[in-house]
């Protein structure tokens, strides 16, 4: 449970802490430099394989990348000094690999465009711009949210905005919201955003604060059925609403991946809050029923499932993307074709939804596994911070944020490797797309804030405890000396 007034105390003792807890900021800087080194090396490989020439500009790009990371690092050093040192380097490495892959696919696309006599504008410049903006936003979040618990105050506001943002594309006319068949966009004059990416975080904040305040609601036992305590029917309301909202996304926005993501995150947070598996079971049951209904009602869902069961049935038509993805992964094999030496551009949407297929092709199983491990480390460190933090809201929010990371990558890579139906969702930090990048940097900023709170030396030894006298004796002393104390004070 939250401990009130810790802040005032901690501020007081910060100046002269009794024992120095390592902030591990130097570890972070070292890891960041390592990440920048890997990214620069990857860029060198791409250029070597694609352009057959190496220029000094690569070195500058690498240094610039390291510079931007260092700025982020300094921000962490100042505003979240006790934050987990592994989170930011993991993110930086994933982001860097994503940039290199997008650049690599750009090169292939540029070649194609030249052949077809079309104009071509590289995606990577936009993505680099987004990265800088996202890092700026990351710093802003670190500064503004100096204590994650303040977010509970805006729980309902966040929920409202979140729901609105989520529903906005569905309500808007098609011309303003649909790209490639997915109605998840908000097309603005100069750029487009996917409000769903931000709604994801807002809704998690809402749900965490909602669960903290209404936790008891979910703990009340209902009737027993087959030895399992069922919740009371009226308590099913919120989860039913959540389920319907998610199915709604699926139906109106044709975004299978996001709906799966939202629903699973809600279930996990519910489970963490109540520790009752029945919620997960019930939720999964609802979702399964919803999916079956959706499958029977909508052809695009049927097609996705068909492509999942046998993409080769229509290898040149609807299954083309899936088949090309599998071919790419197969051609890459264990070691991969080498960065810049494969043909990941043969998979449609290689820079966004299928970027992990591109990584699997050029870096092989080893590279793909390494990327998956990065996500796992990221999520595990996040989860660890969430467990270590002292307040329930922090635990729930941190757990939810960390879990989304893994859930998202599961949906993406599972879809790309034909483990689950392909859903069309971006890989956090890797995929091309500004909204995804911005939202995920906000997410990491929040995780860092929570981990900072978790590791910050809060329960420092109190001065009253220093005499270590038995309570009875202390009491005696207190009775004996009030006048002297009072006199001294005066």
């Amino acid at each position: 449970m939250a401990q009130p007034a810790v802040d005032a105390l901690s501020a007081q003792f910060q100046t002269n802490p009794p024992r120095e807890l390592p902030t591990r900021r130097n570890t972070e800087l070292l890891l960041l430099a390592f990440a920048a080194f890997i990214v620069t090396s990857a860029l060198v490989l791409v250029e070597a394989n694609q352009e057959q020439e190496l220029t000094a500009s690569i070195l500058w790009l690498g240094l610039a990348y390291l510079g931007v990371l260092t700025a982020a690092h300094l921000a962490v050093r100042k505003w979240a000094p006790y934050a987990d040192p592994v989170l930011l380097p993991c993110v930086a490495l994933l982001n860097g690999i994503g940039l290199v892959m997008i650049h690599r696919i750009d090169l292939a696309q540029a070649e194609k465009a030249v052949q077809n006599g079309k104009d071509f504008s590289p995606d990577v410049t936009k993505q680099v711009l987004f990265t800088v903006v996202a890092l700026a936003l990351f710093v802003v979040v670190l500064i503004v949210v100096n204590d994650h618990r303040t977010l509970t105050r805006y729980g309902y506001t966040a929920g409202l905005i979140g729901i609105f943002a989520l529903a906005l594309p569905a309500l808007l006319p098609r011309s303003l919201s649909e790209v490639n068949g997915a109605k998840v966009w908000l097309k603005l004059p100069f750029f487009s955003i996917q409000p769903g990416e931000f709604a994801k975080i807002l809704l998690m904040i809402f749900f965490a604060s909602f669960l903290v305040s209404k936790r008891d609601l979910f703990m009340v036992a209902g009737k027993k059925f087959l030895g399992v305590e069922l919740p009371r029917p009226r308590d099913l309301g919120p989860i039913l609403i959540a389920a319907f909202a998610c199915i709604g996304i699926l139906v109106f926005e044709k975004d299978l991946g996001s709906s799966l993501l939202f629903f699973s995150v809600i279930l996990v947070m519910l489970y963490v809050a109540t520790e009752r598996a029945i919620w997960v079971v019930l939720g999964l049951a609802f979702f399964a029923v919803g999916c079956v209904i959706a499958y029977n009602l909508f052809t695009h869902v049927q097609q996705r499932v068909q492509n999942w069961i046998d993409p080769f049935a229509d290898a040149d038509g609807t299954g083309y993307q899936m088949v090309q993805s599998l071919f790419g992964l197969g051609t890459g094999g264990v070691g991969g074709t080498g960065l810049g030496a494969g043909r990941p551009d043969m998979v449609p949407e290689a820079a966004t939804d299928f970027i992990t297929a591109a990584i699997g092709e050029e870096l092989g199983f080893i590279g793909l596994a390494a990327v998956l491990m990065l996500y796992l480390i990221l999520a595990m460190r996040g989860m660890r911070s969430a467990l270590a933090v002292r307040d329930t809201f922090g635990k729930l929010l941190g757990g939810g944020l960390a879990f989304t990371m893994v859930m998202q990558i599961f949906v993406v890579v599972g879809g790309v490797t034909k483990l689950i139906p392909e859903t069309g969702i971006t890989a956090p930090f890797l995929s091309k797309g500004g909204s995804s990048l911005l939202a995920n940097y906000i997410l990491v900023a929040l995780l860092l804030r929570i981990s900072d709170a978790a590791r910050r030396p809060a329960a420092r030894p109190k001065p009253q405890q220093q005499p270590q006298a038995p309570i009875a004796e202390a009491h005696t002393v207190l009775v004996q000396r009030p006048p002297a104390e009072g006199g001294a004070s005066a």
Binding site: Q52, K112, G330, G360, L368, L376, F403, F410
Partner: protein, 481 residues
Amino acid sequence: MAMLVMIVLLLANATYIQVVKADDYRTDSRNARVLYDEFARRRGQIVSQANGEVLAKVDPSNDKYKFIRTYTDGAMYAPVTGYYSINYGAGGLERAEDDVLNGSDPRLFVRRLSDMVTGRDPSGGNVRLTVDPKVQKAAYDLMSSKGYTGAVVAMEPKTGRILAMVSTPSYDPNLLASHISKTQRDAWNANTAQGGPNPMLNRAISETYPPGSTLKLVTAAAALEDGKGPDTPVSNAPNTKLPNTNTTLENYGGAPCPGTTFKDALAHSCNVPFAEFAGQLGADKMKKTATNFGIGQTDLTVPMKVAGSTMGPMDSQGALYQSGIGQRDVRLTPLQDCLLAATVANNGMAMRPQLVQSILDTDLSTIEDYTPTELTGNAALSSSNAAILRDMMIASEGFTKGNGKDPALKIASKTGTAEHGTDSKNTAPHAWYTAFAPSDNPQIAVAVIVESGGNRGLAATGGTVAAEIGRAAIAAKLGGG
């Protein structure tokens, strides 16, 4: 935890896709990656021996394949180079030397490694052929300008190096190498049309024909080896009855042989004496000599696979009689027919025919040179007998008609007029001519076949139809005529 389980699931599935099923996916015919890779590689060139004329090369193409295969004088060299098509694969030498040309040959390994390290575009090795463009051109121009269907093979008797390999009608491999699918498809369909001229059949090595009188070289060699001499008396009867049958075998035109010795019989190509020689020698001796000429080898490659030539079963005296003059079941490829003359020219030793002179690296340094090897290791006839046979062939050339005669070329030859078909007397015969020159120091052996009499119909003979082409090829090589 759930997160661990999910990641492990992903890893397990990725292992399945990228390790277990990887080969299936990689080699799936619908996986265009491998194909693109091969086409994107700079394929090696095919160059000729003399003056290094480039017969097949790649040009940059502004499409996903990066390079397009182009052939110089495509139709002329098509039997030599073969074709390289995106939709229809490769044929001929393009297929036989594919590993070298696409760079995957182990002999190019070091090169590939350095390509990888330096990031240079990988490229294939080059193939240098033994072909002499002058000879190829002379033979092809005559065959095609006269509209003949047939083949010409020329080789160096001492080395087995193939100087020319012509098959007409021919086709343009450039069309098959086109990156426009329709062009490819139309060309392919036209080339493979049922009942059409079948231009993609390499008649020089993939088709066998009854050799007719050119096979008398084999019978003569066997007879000489059996102790006969140039002056051995022979029957000059105009015909003879096949043993145990009522069928008669007669000389060309049913005329009596103008001479009564072995050498006269060969010079005038009398059938009766050779039929009788074969009958006396028997199947075993005939086969032994034939084998050392190369007949009967079924696994010969130059490096394209050469169809097996055969003497047939020769299981009766009648069959022996007919086989002795190159009829019945005797079937030779034009390449094998060329080997007959080449073997006599090389003092009785058949050399292994070879179309590839050397394998070259990308930078044209030689990786491997092919050294001439003997075909069977056993001489078909002794060198003294070869000299006797050579003199007979010189005499034969003297009596042979046809254009392009030039005493300066010093040709030794043998013609053939082979009956074929179910109604052989009323089907225009195949016209053969096999020769070598100069007779005192043979530089070139040549075999020509013009299917079904060329433009002469039933009246065609090897001398009137085929000889001039052979002589043109020889003249091109020796620089005369």
